[in-house]
Amino acid sequence: MNLALAFDVLLAAALLWSAWRTLSTAQIDRAVVMFIVFGLLLTLAWARLAAPDIALAEAAIGAGLTGALLLDGLAALKRTDARRPARRTAGKVMVRIAVISVLGLLAGTLVTALISLPPAPIRLPAAVAGDLANSGVSHPVTAVLLNFRGYDTLLEVAVLLLALVGMLAVGLPPAHPGISRNSMLPTLARYALPLMVLAAVYLLWAGAHRPGGAFQAAAVLAAGGVLLNLSRLQAHWLPASRAPRLAIAGGFLLFLAIAAALLAHGGLLRYPPEQAGLLIVLIESGLTVSLAVNLAAFFLLRSTPENGQIPPATAPRESP
C-alpha cells in the first residue's frame, strides 16, 4: 500500500515536471515532444485511477493523434521560430512575476479547497450500479456514455462535426511537402493495419461488458489512417471527396434518428430496456465509423494544390 502511494507521488511529480518542461523549454519541437511525454504519463495516471477506458483514449487520442497533429502543425509554423528576438523588458518581467504569483495563489487555493471539501451527498457509482441492469450493457462507463448521459455523447459528436466544418471554412492545410521516405514504415503499416482493424472491432464489441467502446475503437482506426498516410500508402483526402463526408455525417445522423424516434416514446434517448442493448450496439457501430473518419480527417483532409487556399509560406505560387 505504501509502495503504491510512493508510485503515485513519483508519477504526480513526473506529470508536473513534464507539464513544466512543455511550457518552459526553449526549443518548440522539444516542447511538443514533452507534451507527448506528458500524455503518456497521464495514461499511467488514468490506469492508477482505475479508469482503463480513459487510459486507452488518452494513449490513442491525447498522446497519439494530438501529437501527430501538433508535429504536423509544427512543421508549418516552425520556420519563423528561430528569428524571434528575445525581448525582455523590465515591464514584461514585472507582468510575468505578477501573473505567476497570482497563479501560484490560485493553485494553492484550489488544492486547499479540494482537501477540505466535504464528501459528496450523492453516491453516483451506486446509482449507476443500481440501474445497470436496465441499461442494455454491463460495463458502467459505456452505460453512462450511451444510455444514462447519451445526450452528452450526441452533442460531442456534433462538436466534432462542427470542428471539422470550422476547419473546412478556415482553410485546410496543404498536402505534406515531403515526409522522409523510410522503407520500414510502409512494411510496418502493411503488417500493423489488419491488426489495428481487428483491435478496433474487438474494442467496439468489448465495450458492452468491459473497458472499450466506440471512442477507443474509432481512435485506433483513425491512428491506422494516419499511419497509412505517413507511410504514403494512402493519399490525403480532398475536401471535395464525398465518401469521407458521408461516413462522418452517417453516424451522427443515425444517432440523431434514433434519438428522434425515441422522443416519440417518452424521452430523449430513453431506451426501452429490452431493446437497449441492440440500440446501443447500433449507435456504437455507426459512431465508430463516423468518429474514426472524423478524427482521421483532422489529419488527412488537405486542400487541393490547385485551388491553393493556403499557399506554403516558403514558396509563393502566385507567379503569373
Binding site: 503504491a4 482505475a50 509554423l77 509560406a313
Partner: protein, 105 residues
C-alpha cells in the same frame, strides 16, 4: 491522502501551469500546448476528486472520455486557425507581436 485526491491536487497545479502558459507565452503552438495542459488538469480534478474515497466512479470517467475527444477536435481547429494566420501574415503569434508592447498588457 488517497491517490484520487493526490491526482486531483496535481490536476489543479497543472491547470494553473497551463493557464499561465496561455497568458504568458507568445508562440501560437505553445499556447495550444498550454491550453491542452489546462484541459488535462481539469480532467484529473474531475476524476480524482470523484474517486477520493477509492471507489471508481463511471460518471466522471465517461465525461472525461467525451472531453478528451472534444479536446482533440479543439486542438485540430486551433492548429488550422494558427496555420491560416501564419499563411496570411507570416507570423506565429497574435496580439501586439512585432510591435512594442503597450503599457496596458
Amino acid at each position: 491522502m488517497s491517490s484520487g485526491l493526490l491526482y486531483a491536487a496535481t490536476g489543479c497545479v497543472i491547470f494553473a501551469l497551463g493557464l499561465g502558459g496561455v497568458m504568458l507565452l507568445d508562440h501560437l503552438l505553445r499556447r495550444i500546448l498550454a491550453f491542452n495542459l489546462m484541459g488535462s488538469g481539469a480532467f484529473l480534478v474531475l476524476v480524482g476528486l470523484a474517486q477520493r474515497d477509492g471507489t471508481p466512479d463511471p460518471v466522471p470517467q465517461a465525461m472525461v472520455l467525451t472531453g478528451i475527444v472534444v479536446a482533440v477536435a479543439a486542438t485540430a481547429l486551433a492548429l488550422t486557425l494558427a496555420r491560416r494566420w501564419h499563411a496570411l501574415t507570416g507570423r506565429d503569434e497574435i496580439g501586439a507581436a512585432g510591435k512594442q508592447r503597450g503599457p496596458d498588457d
